[in-house]
């Protein structure tokens, strides 16, 4: 009886610590059923832990401009795939292929980002459970039909 209670308590306490290995998973914030492809001009960059962000102005067919926030992994994770601070600058035009946030805001997880120098870089977090999270340089985007 006592042992059982202790076990139950131990499980209850340990349960609170389980998500500690990942900052947050792909599925916690982004919707795999809402792939997006955006082309726009960079307006702001946050080279920041635990997630980087950059913001782009996207102009639609009617000429309306919408500012999108593109979330990426930590500066360390990007540096390891040769994407350094300064590779992207305000005013650059980039292409972002990724997935929209579940909360409906103009936020997307940039799974593959085409930089101004033509490099296509994986902009997700390896192992976050999102599409193509094997961390390959190109990024693998099965749901958008754009993988090579």
């Amino acid at each position: 009886m006592k042992a059982r209670l202790v076990l139950a308590l131990a499980l209850a306490v340990s349960g609170t610590a389980i998500p500690a290995h990942a900052h947050h998973s792909f599925a916690a914030e982004f919707d795999i059923n809402q792939p997006v492809r955006l082309m726009g001009k960079v307006t702001r960059i946050e080279w920041s832990n635990p997630h980087t962000y950059f913001y782009i102005d996207v102009t639609d067919a009617s000429g309306k401009i919408t500012n999108w926030a593109i979330e990426g992994p930590s500066p360390g994770a990007l540096s390891r795939r040769a994407w350094q601070k300064g590779d992207l600058k305000v005013g650059d035009t980039v292409v972002v292929e990724g997935y929209r946030a579940k909360n409906g805001t103009n936020t997307a997880n940039g799974r593959r980002v085409t930089l101004p120098d033509g490099r296509k870089l994986y902009g997700g977090s390896p192992g976050d459970g999102g599409p193509g999270d094997d961390g390959t340089d190109q990024g693998n985007l099965p749901a958008t039909g754009t993988n090579k």
């Binding site: 202790v6 306490v13 947050h24 920041s48 832990n49 635990p50 360390g76």
Partner: protein, 163 residues
């Protein structure tokens, strides 16, 4: 701009805060230190709480157990506050508006108040009841409050990343 928000902005814009925020490795190392120190802090507190509830180490008196674990709790507390402040420094302007961070601070204050009540009232007379296998009601209530509040602090802290 409210004073606290201004303070958070100054920290966020500072060279040191920016260096931590933009670092390749420092931020994640500090995160690990923060988690390890929390395990020391909350782990040792939980041992004392479980003893007061009569679930473990019934043959050891509460005073004796407290004397051996509390220095570890304080060490864990010191390191977790220091590492936590560095993490806050790196992201201060974002933390100011993060609802989960605010909840964590409130829970921390409540957990601290609960510990204060324990040390200034209940624990003062531990010589009288500390050898009982199951401790008096107010010690047990304090132990359950402590386990609940510290769990809440950890849950809210973990949830900061999701807002």
């Amino acid at each position: 701009m409210p004073f606290l928000q201004h303070f958070c902005d100054v920290l966020y814009q500072s060279n040191f805060g920016t260096m931590l925020r933009e670092s390749n490795n420092a931020f994640s190392v500090i995160e690990s230190v923060h988690v390890l120190s929390i395990t020391l802090l909350v782990g040792t507190i939980a041992v004392l709480d479980l003893r007061m509830l009569g679930l473990i180490l019934r043959s050891v008196s509460v005073s004796r157990l407290a004397r051996s674990v509390l220095p570890l709790s304080w060490s864990g507390f010191a390191v977790s506050v220091a590492s936590g402040f560095l993490l806050f420094w790196a992201e201060a302007a974002k933390m100011y508006i993060n609802p989960s961070f605010r909840a964590k601070l409130v829970l921390l204050v409540l957990a601290g108040f609960n510990a204060l009540v324990f040390h200034t009232t209940i624990y003062r007379r531990a010589q009288e009841w500390g050898t009982l296998q199951v401790c008096p009601m107010r010690a047990r209530v304090n132990a359950i409050a402590s386990l609940t509040l510290w769990s809440g602090v950890i849950i809210a802290g973990r949830a900061i990343a999701y807002f």
